[in-house]
Symmetry: C2
Subunit: 124 residues, 2 copies
C-alpha cells in the first residue's frame, strides 16, 4: 500500500504520515527498491493505533515512548501497560470535563431558546 492510499484510507495527510515516521512515532516503513514506502499490515496497524490515540488527544511524546517499548522486547510489557492505563485515566478525566461543558452549554442553549420564544411572542 502506497502512502497516498494510506492517506486517503485513514484520512491522515501524506505529510503527517511522513512526519510521524521521521520523528520515530511510526516504526520504519518498508521500502520498494526505488525507495518508495510500501506499507505492510504491521505499518497499517500502527497507523490505525496512532490515529485512534491522537484523535483522543494523547501526546506524540507518550505514544513515541510506547512505540519504543514495544520495539524493545517482551520485558517492557508491564511498563507499556502502565502507559496505557495512565492515558486511559487522562482521557476519562478529559471526558468528565467535557461533560461539564456540555451541561453548561445545554443550560445556556435552553436559556436562549426560551428568550427567543419570548421575543417571538412580543412581536405578535
Amino acid at each position: 500500500m502506497k502512502i497516498s492510499e494510506v492517506s486517503k484510507t485513514y484520512d491522515i495527510s501524506i505529510d503527517t504520515i511522513r512526519y510521524y515516521e521521521r520523528i520515530g512515532l511510526l516504526p520504519t516503513v518498508n521500502r520498494l527498491e526505488n525507495g518508495i514506502r510500501d506499507f505492510n499490515s504491521i505499518s497499517i496497524e500502527w497507523i490505525e493505533f496512532i490515529k485512534c490515540m491522537r484523535n483522543a488527544g494523547l501526546p506524540i511524546e507518550v505514544l513515541k515512548d510506547y512505540v519504543t517499548l514495544v520495539q524493545s522486547g517482551d520485558d517492557t510489557k508491564e511498563e507499556r501497560k502502565k502507559i496505557l492505563v495512565d492515558q486511559r485515566d487522562v482521557i476519562l478525566g478529559k471526558m468528565a470535563e467535557m461533560q461539564e461543558t456540555v451541561d453548561l452549554l445545554n443550560y445556556k442553549i435552553d436559556v436562549y431558546e426560551k428568550e427567543l420564544v419570548k421575543t417571538e411572542n412580543n412581536l405578535k
Copy 2:
C-alpha cells in the same frame, strides 16, 4: 478582586488572563484609578465561562466570536445560540471518539493483563 486572586481561584495563570483580555476574548476588565485590574462579578463570570469552554477544547477564535456577539446586543441571540449548539456537537463528537479510544485501550490493557499473568505462571 485583583488578578492574582482570580488566577489562584480559577487556576489560570496571570499571563493567560492578561492575554485573554489583550486579544479580546475576555471583555475589558475594570481598572482602579492607578490602572490595576479590578475584576467585578461580570468579569468573573466571563472567566468561569472561558475556563469551562477552553477546558473542553473550544478554540479561542470561536469563543471570541461569541463574546463579540454578546457585546453587540440582543439581536445576535439566534447567532450566539447557533455557535453554542455547533460547539456542543463538536464536543459530543470528540467525546464519542474518545470513548472509542477508551474501548481500544481497555482491550489492550486486558490483553497485557492476561499475558502478564501467563508469564507469572511460567515462572512457577
